[in-house]
């Protein structure tokens, strides 16, 4: 895997971490992202307004500090600051959970396929290939049309779609790994296949998997925003950045702040996640760009 000389005393994991920290873009991104998460989770209480409160005196007003509508209000008089942060919570949570779902499904599927090899593997991957060719964005939409628009469905739907590439990566890795000597050693000592998969194969595939997971989170957030934007995602009374952007887009001419704040948050979050993902990839597999 890596060919650089190791500094004395650092494990490959620590080495990668140091390399990551040297990457300025990734570093700043991690800080900014942490900030955003912190703000969304904890700073809602700064504002006196609740998610659904309608401020009848201040419908569609611009951001102001004095009126305590830091981001302004939307066309229904609801405070945008609170909504943006709440939306952030939802968007981030969906991002994390759906990625986790795809993570788990993908790893298990891929590890089993790669490790088992032979016909089972061929069959399993053929299944993945067929699914891959399908325009899955549409199927997620179909699922929402079909089952109604619940947030749990969104997790599952997105996760069910993103696991494919994860499975491919893990399967490739486990195919390579199963020939390595420590796996043979484990077999010889009588470890069950399941245990081998659990303790040897999976931990060693973690490198590229982590990179891919980090790059999946922004894709998932994007996906959810996309669905919500079209009205097929998160529903009232909950909100997400996608919903807010849709609302903002419709009010663009009269109240541009409605668009700009949630869009800003979304874009910055996406950038940060992408930089971190790229940084992780470089850190774990240093190559000259």
């Amino acid at each position: 895997m890596e060919s650089t000389t190791f500094d004395k005393g650092y494990s490959p994991g620590q080495q990668a971490w140091r390399r990551l920290l040297q990457n300025k873009a990734a570093l700043y991104s991690m800080v900014i992202l942490a900030l955003i998460v912190f703000v969304c989770l904890f700073l809602v209480s700064i504002s006196p307004w609740q998610l659904d409160d309608v401020d009848w005196d201040n419908i569609g007003t611009a951001p102001s500090f004095i009126g305590q509508h830091y981001f302004g209000t939307d066309a229904n008089g609801r405070d945008l600051f609170v909504r943006t942060l709440q939306g952030g919570r939802i968007s981030l949570m969906v991002g994390l959970l759906a990625t986790a779902v795809s993570f788990i499904i993908g790893i298990l599927y891929g590890a089993v396929a790669g490790y088992t090899g032979g016909k089972t593997d061929a069959l399993m991957m053929r299944f993945v290939d067929i699914l891959y060719a399908l325009p899955f964005m549409f199927f997620v939409i179909l699922l929402t049309v079909y089952f109604g628009r619940s947030i749990w469905l969104i997790f599952i739907a997105i996760g069910a779609v993103e696991w494919l590439t994860m499975a491919r990566i893990v399967r490739g890795q486990s195919l390579a790994l199963k020939r390595r000597s420590f796996v043979e050693a484990a077999r010889v000592t009588g470890a069950s296949h399941f245990n081998i998969i659990k303790r040897h194969i999976i931990p060693n595939t973690l490198g590229p998997v982590i990179v891919y997971a980090t790059l999946t989170v922004p894709q998932v957030i994007l996906f959810e925003s996309f669905l919500s934007f079209l009205g097929l995602g998160v529903q009232e009374p909950m909100t997400s950045w996608g919903v807010l952007i849709a609302e903002g887009a419709s009010q663009m001419e009269s109240a541009p702040w409605m668009l700009l704040f949630p869009a800003g948050f979304l874009v910055v979050t996406l950038f940060c996640l992408n930089f971190i993902g790229d940084g992780l990839r470089d850190a774990l597999d240093p190559k000259d760009r």
Binding site: P135, I141, Y146, F226, M252, L270
Partner: protein
């Protein structure tokens, strides 16, 4: 050559089948659809439904009818707009969507390849960083954010272009740009990486050693190797453009297929939604097939 094409087409059939089958069952079993036995349906409509959907025949026969119809291009009537068949709606929206999509792909290729090449040839200089940053931006910012911002800047603030509608050239500018931007970014990135890699190939060294001028080396020797990955990308790119068109058509109010799709989804118009999905599926499969064939034609090492 012919057998290669046939083999590739045959390979896509399972996918198509699965799509159509899922479509059928979703329609059939949809809650809130006309097959929902809990619904109160006036007798004339019930009769109509029975006739159109062959409800009295066994399930597998119904499936057969559906399959045949789809293969003929008949997706059934729209649930919502009872007067229109889905095929009619799709045919209505098709010209708009295809114009949008094709222009976006052409733009992506032309601008993307140019920018990427410039960045590759001036590697690590200012131009390179500029292009790569722009590309990063184009890829990260989703089109449903980019499109409203473009409208904000060019239609609302500057008033140069209309904010929506379809009709003549000036209506096409913003939607096509919004749709193609992420692809331009992607192609630029890929071209840059591909060109850098190609220029490091040993046969380029040979070309230099023969005394060939740089322009000739670039155009004759490097171009094909560089373009191959881009051509491969056209397959998934068309899927991305279709996805993007749904958003763009929504924002700009364009009467394309994407808009029917979204409305269908919101109205639970199952036949419409399924019909559009199948239609899109076929287009994607076709594009992928075309790309494969193009690739095989361009790379002499692949022989059918």
């Amino acid at each position: 050559m012919l057998s290669y094409i046939l083999k590739r087409i045959a390979g896509t059939l399972p996918t198509l089948f699965i799509i159509i089958t899922i479509a059928f069952f979703m329609i059939r079993l949809a809650p809130g659809g006309p097959f929902d036995s809990e619904r109160e349906v006036p007798p004339e409509i019930a009769e109509n439904l029975e006739r159109v959907y062959h409800l009295n025949d066994p399930l597998w026969q119904q499936y057969g009818y559906y399959l045949l119809n789809v293969l003929k291009g008949d997706f059934g009537p729209s649930f919502k707009y009872q007067d229109y068949s889905v095929s009619e709606l799709i045919a209505q929206g098709f010209p708009v969507s295809i114009q949008l999509g094709l222009l976006a792909i052409i733009l992506a290729l032309v601008i993307g390849v140019t920018l990427g090449s410039i960045a590759a040839l001036r590697q690590n200089k200012t131009v390179d960083y500029l292009v790569m940053t722009l590309a990063m931006t184009g890829i990260t910012i989703p089109n449903f954010v980019m499109a409203p911002i473009l409208v904000l800047v060019f239609a609302v603030f500057l008033g140069w272009l209309p904010a929506g509608g379809w009709g003549d050239l000036k209506h096409m500018v913003l939607p096509v740009i919004a749709l193609s931007l992420p692809q331009i970014a992607m192609v630029a990135r890929m071209t840059r990486a591909s060109l850098i890699e190609t220029m490091n190939a040993p046969y380029i060294k040979t070309a230099k050693a023969k005394g060939l001028p740089p322009r000739l080396i670039l155009l004759r020797h490097a171009s094909r190797a560089t373009m191959l990955p881009i051509i491969s990308w056209l397959g998934p790119a068309s899927a991305a453009i279709i996805t993007g068109s749904v958003v763009v058509e929504q924002i700009f109010g364009l009467p394309g297929i994407g808009r029917h799709f979204v409305n269908g989804a919101l109205n639970r118009d199952y036949t419409l939604v399924m019909g559009v999905v199948i239609f899109y599926g076929v287009i994607i499969i076709l594009m992928n097939l075309l790309v494969d064939l193009l690739y095989a034609w361009l790379d002499p090492r692949i022989r059918y």
